[in-house]
């Protein structure tokens, strides 16, 4: 079965710039672990430190219990799939996949057997003798994947493997990658900047920004309970509204300043919140409810709308001028014309509350309640 990757206090410097400063994480055996973040956040740098293409300026990298800091790449036994496939253009599919086995002095008949086997798993056994120039992007990526896993590496690394493919192939390949990873059970570290891709394939996601891990969690948790403003806006989309805590004994509620009137009772805020404390509410578009007529809620005016079949997206303006986005199931209403006055209520179980600067969550996670 797969190996454990343990990274403790990793430091990466380029000249005077420190890209990563004291990063730690652990990838469990057989896990599909994704490093997700905007470009330049250090995710590829970290990946290249694991395989050994980047030097390590501090900290320890372990695979199982072995420290790999000073082991040269070609002895680390880590497979890697590259963004641009890096299929050797002068070798056939078979020779590409057999390349690593030949370097390991595997007997010829076993090479044949193992290559054929892996080509079947990635479903390109019919392309065995083709040259790479005659393969599509998706097929080349399958060759690259087969080549990386046929050597039975302790760990498989993938650096944005789908970013060069077109949209339809990307979905197909990402399902294939997930299927193959589960079939083989290899510990996998996957780098992407595409949040949808990360949500679809990962067992756990580490969201990174500026060389710092913001949150490590399952895809659902990362989406539902982001640990700060960055994560809640990088994964999915959130509207951020300033609000104030009202505390009256055990009764805790959040009052939206916009109007002063709309108040939502909250049962999951951390016990430490103070009466009158200013906070930031992060509300996803689908966590708004749009209502007509009199009643509680934040008054808003429809600015425009986009009909997307099952849902309709509304762009609204609040009284203070702030613009928010809300998603409603299309069957609720006719599409509201521009200028319609509505009031917005929130689904209090789903919304997130952060400290006013957006850095700390104030909602106690469900599993801890």
């Amino acid at each position: 079965m797969g190996a454990t990757i343990t990274i403790e206090n990793a430091v990466k410097r380029y000249g005077k710039d420190t890209i990563i400063n004291g990063l730690s994480l652990e990838v469990k055996p057989g896990e599909f672990f994704t490093l997700l973040g905007p470009s330049g956040c250090g995710k590829t740098t970290l990946l290249r430190m694991i395989i050994g293409f980047n030097s390590i300026e501090g900290g320890t990298f372990r695979i199982n219990d072995q420290i790999i800091n000073d082991i040269p790449t070609n002895k680390r036994n880590i497979g890697m799939v590259f963004q641009n496939y890096a299929v050797f253009p002068h070798m056939s599919v078979f020779d590409n996949v057999a390349f690593g086995l030949k370097n390991r002095k595997v007997p010829k008949d076993e090479i044949q057997k193992r290559v054929d086997e892996i080509l079947k798993i990635v479903k390109i056994d019919h392309l065995r003798d083709r040259m790479p120039a005659k393969l599509s992007g998706g097929q080349q990526q399958r060759v690259a994947l087969a080549r990386a896993i046929v050597i039975e590496p302790a760990v498989l690394l993938m650096d944005e493997p789908l970013s060069n493919l077109d949209a339809k192939l990307r979905v197909e390949m990402r399902n294939a990658i997930k299927r193959i990873q589960q079939q083989i059970g290899i510990t996998t570290v996957y780098v992407t900047h595409d949040q949808e891709e990360a949500l679809a394939v990962s067992d756990r996601i580490a969201v990174m920004n500026n060389g710092v891990i913001q949150q490590i969690d399952t895809p659902a948790r990362v989406y539902q309970r982001p640990s700060n403003q960055f994560v809640s806006n990088f994964i999915g989309l959130s509207n951020f509204l300033p609000a104030r805590v009202k505390r009256n004994g055990d009764r805790v509620s959040v009052c939206f300043q916009e109007d002063g009137g709309y108040e939502v009772a909250m049962s999951n805020l951390s016990p430490g919140v103070q009466d009158g404390q200013t906070v930031m509410a992060a509300i996803r578009p689908e966590e708004f409810e749009m209502l007509a007529g009199e009643g509680p809620g934040i008054p808003a005016t429809v600015v425009s709308s986009v009909f997307l079949g099952t849902t309709t997206h509304y762009f609204l303006k609040l009284a203070g001028g702030q613009e928010v986005e809300a998603i409603q199931n299309s069957d609720v209403w006719e599409i509201l014309p521009e200028g319609t006055q509505v009031r917005l209520t929130v689904k209090e179980k789903k919304i997130n509350i952060f400290t006013a600067d957006g850095s700390e969550p104030l909602v106690v996670r469900e599993e801890l309640l």
Binding site: N74, N103, A148
Partner: protein, 552 residues
């Protein structure tokens, strides 16, 4: 491709026909003349010239000599050029940009200047020879003959191998290297299993160019070969010799050279097609800081080779400032006499001609290059296909052969061009044409046809679109190509030396004849002017193209 409403016979067809006519006249007709002269006496087929050549060892022996020299020089050039390219791409070497320029300069100067400079250093009475003989009390007679020729050609040609291989390595994405490393390859295995096979096609192309260049060069063996006669030397003496010149026999030798060159061209084409990989590197290899013995060894190799390669140029520049007795014996005193000589005696005609002919040829080459590449990419037809093939012909015809064929074709009626500047300008243009057309074709290939279609949809005519959209978009690339052409044109010797008269002498011809007459002082001064021109042009090229790499 024709647009709606376009007539079958239009301005593009006319242009194609005019260009075809020009190439028929200046390429096919002269070569035809060679064939006729070698194969016919009167109106009957006569193979006696071929029989004469292949039965007498005095003649075919030169062909064997040429092969020995060419194969050895090409191999030595690879042995120097490939490691040079790899080291400079993979190891950080201080001053690598200067090294690059020095290497290119040593390639751009005509080979025979190298030959004569090496005689100054390692000849019978050479500077280094004297030091060696004094230090070790030996009687080293200097390098002449086979060894001397191979030394000069290898040092002169390795830069071409270096540029081709270095260019190919630039297109090699580093992830291929990394993939090989992650699959268990060490540094040596990465070179043999991944890098070398992938630069092989470029290496072959470079080798072909070196092969052709060395095979057809006559200046070097003429100067440093002494008794060792190669084929071009024989050809030149047969054609130019004061006694016993024989047109038919010289033409026969020309045909033999063309056949051999064609053979190698097709072998290279065949091999090249067999291993062609399209590669574009997102992240090229990066030069790394080396350490320990690896650092010492690679620095020593790179610096030593560059120094030796630049040594002839240095020698020429230094000796150009040293006084001479009767032009041939250097006195050792620094003076400007050599420059006074070449500038005063009305000898400036060679300098003026070089600049004038070079510039005029560039204009011809650029205009024809743009038109022909446009026609063969955008207006594909049978005619432009033929034009495309015709324009590639000069690529494999050695300069001296072109020169001889021009004299046969244009020295008599109906085309009286012999001895004129026009014939030299045309031969220069024709020789450079294949390179310019290929680079222009590549440039046009980068321009999306939809840009031209957009102009047409906005109401511009096709001609206007070509002049206002296509040509301006091509210009930056074409301009840097033109500077490169200029540098190669001003150092051209082999056809000019056959076509020149005293009025149409160029710098290279002047240097050559001064060397032959042992006027080394003047030769050095002329060479220095040529070298300086090349250096300035090269710097201009780097400025215009904004890149540090050359494509020749």
């Amino acid at each position: 491709m024709r647009y709606a409403g376009e007539k079958r016979f239009n301005v593009w067809t006319v242009l194609t026909l005019v260009l075809l006519a020009l190439f028929l006249l200046f390429v096919i007709y002269p070569i035809g003349m060679l064939l006729v002269k070698s194969l016919f006496t009167g109106s009957s087929v006569d193979l006696s010239y071929f029989v004469k050549f292949f039965t007498k060892k005095y003649y075919w022996g030169t062909l064997v000599n040429s092969f020995k020299v060419t194969v050895s020089s090409t191999l030595v050039a690879c042995l120097i050029g490939v490691p040079m390219a790899y080291l400079l791409r993979s190891v950080k070497v201080p001053g690598s940009e200067l090294l690059n320029i020095l290497i290119v300069i040593s390639y751009l100067s005509p080979p025979f200047i190298g030959a004569y400079a090496w005689i100054q250093l390692l000849g019978r009475n050479g500077f280094i020879t004297r030091i060696i003989n004094a230090a070790f009390h030996v009687k080293f007679g200097g390098i002449y003959g086979f060894a001397g020729i191979v030394l000069v050609f290898s040092l002169q040609s390795f830069p071409l191998i270096y540029m081709y291989v270095s260019g190919a390595m630039k297109n090699l994405d580093n992830s291929l290297n990394e993939a090989a490393e992650s699959l268990g390859c060490n540094a040596f295995q990465r070179v043999t299993k991944v890098i070398f096979p992938l630069v092989m096609p470029s290496l072959l192309a470079g080798m072909l160019l070196v092969f052709m260049r060395v095979f057809s060069d006559f200046g070097t063996p003429m100067i440093i070969g002494e008794g060792y006669k190669t084929f071009p030397v024989m050809l030149y003496t047969q054609f130019m010799g004061e006694v016993g010149t024989n047109d038919g026999f010289a033409a026969t030798m020309c045909v033999i050279v063309i056949v051999i060159a064609l053979m190698f061209f097709f072998i290279q084409k065949f091999l090249g097609r067999k291993f062609t990989y399209s590669m574009t590197a997102l992240k090229p290899m990066e030069a790394q800081q080396a350490a320990g013995w690896r650092k010492a060894a690679s620095y020593a190799f790179v610096y030593l080779i560059t120094f030796v390669a630049a040594l002839p140029q240095l020698t020429v520049i230094v000796t150009s400032f040293i006084g001479t007795i009767n032009g041939s014996l250097f006195t050792g005193e620094f003076t400007l006499d050599n420059y006074r000589n070449i500038l005063s005696k009305g000898n400036t005609v060679a300098i003026r001609n070089t600049y004038l002919f070079g510039l005029e040829a560039i204009v011809v080459v650029v205009v024809c290059g743009i038109l022909i590449s446009y026609l063969s990419v955008r207006k594909r037809s049978v005619l432009t296909g033929i034009l495309d093939v015709l324009t590639m012909f000069p690529y494999i015809i050695p300069g001296s052969v072109l020169g001889i064929s021009f004299l046969y074709a244009f020295n008599g009626k109906p085309f009286l061009l012999g001895g004129t500047a026009i014939i030299i300008i045309i031969s220069l243009s024709i020789r450079r044409m294949p390179y310019t057309i290929r680079s222009s074709t590549a440039i046009i290939g980068q321009i999306s046809p939809s840009i031209e279609e957009a102009a047409i949809s906005l109401g511009a005519s096709q001609v206007k679109t070509f002049l206002r959209i296509t040509v301006p978009m091509m210009l930056p690339g074409v301009l840097s190509g033109a500077i490169m052409s200029w540098i190669t044109l001003i150092s051209e010797l082999s056809s000019s030396v056959i076509l020149y008269t005293s009025r149409t002498m160029t710098l290279t011809v002047a240097i050559y004849s001064e060397v032959i007459r042992s006027n080394f002082g003047n030769a050095a001064a002329y060479s220095t002017i040529l070298t300086l021109t090349s250096i300035v042009s090269l710097l201009l090229f780097f400025r215009v193209s904004g890149s540090k790499d050359l494509s020749v």
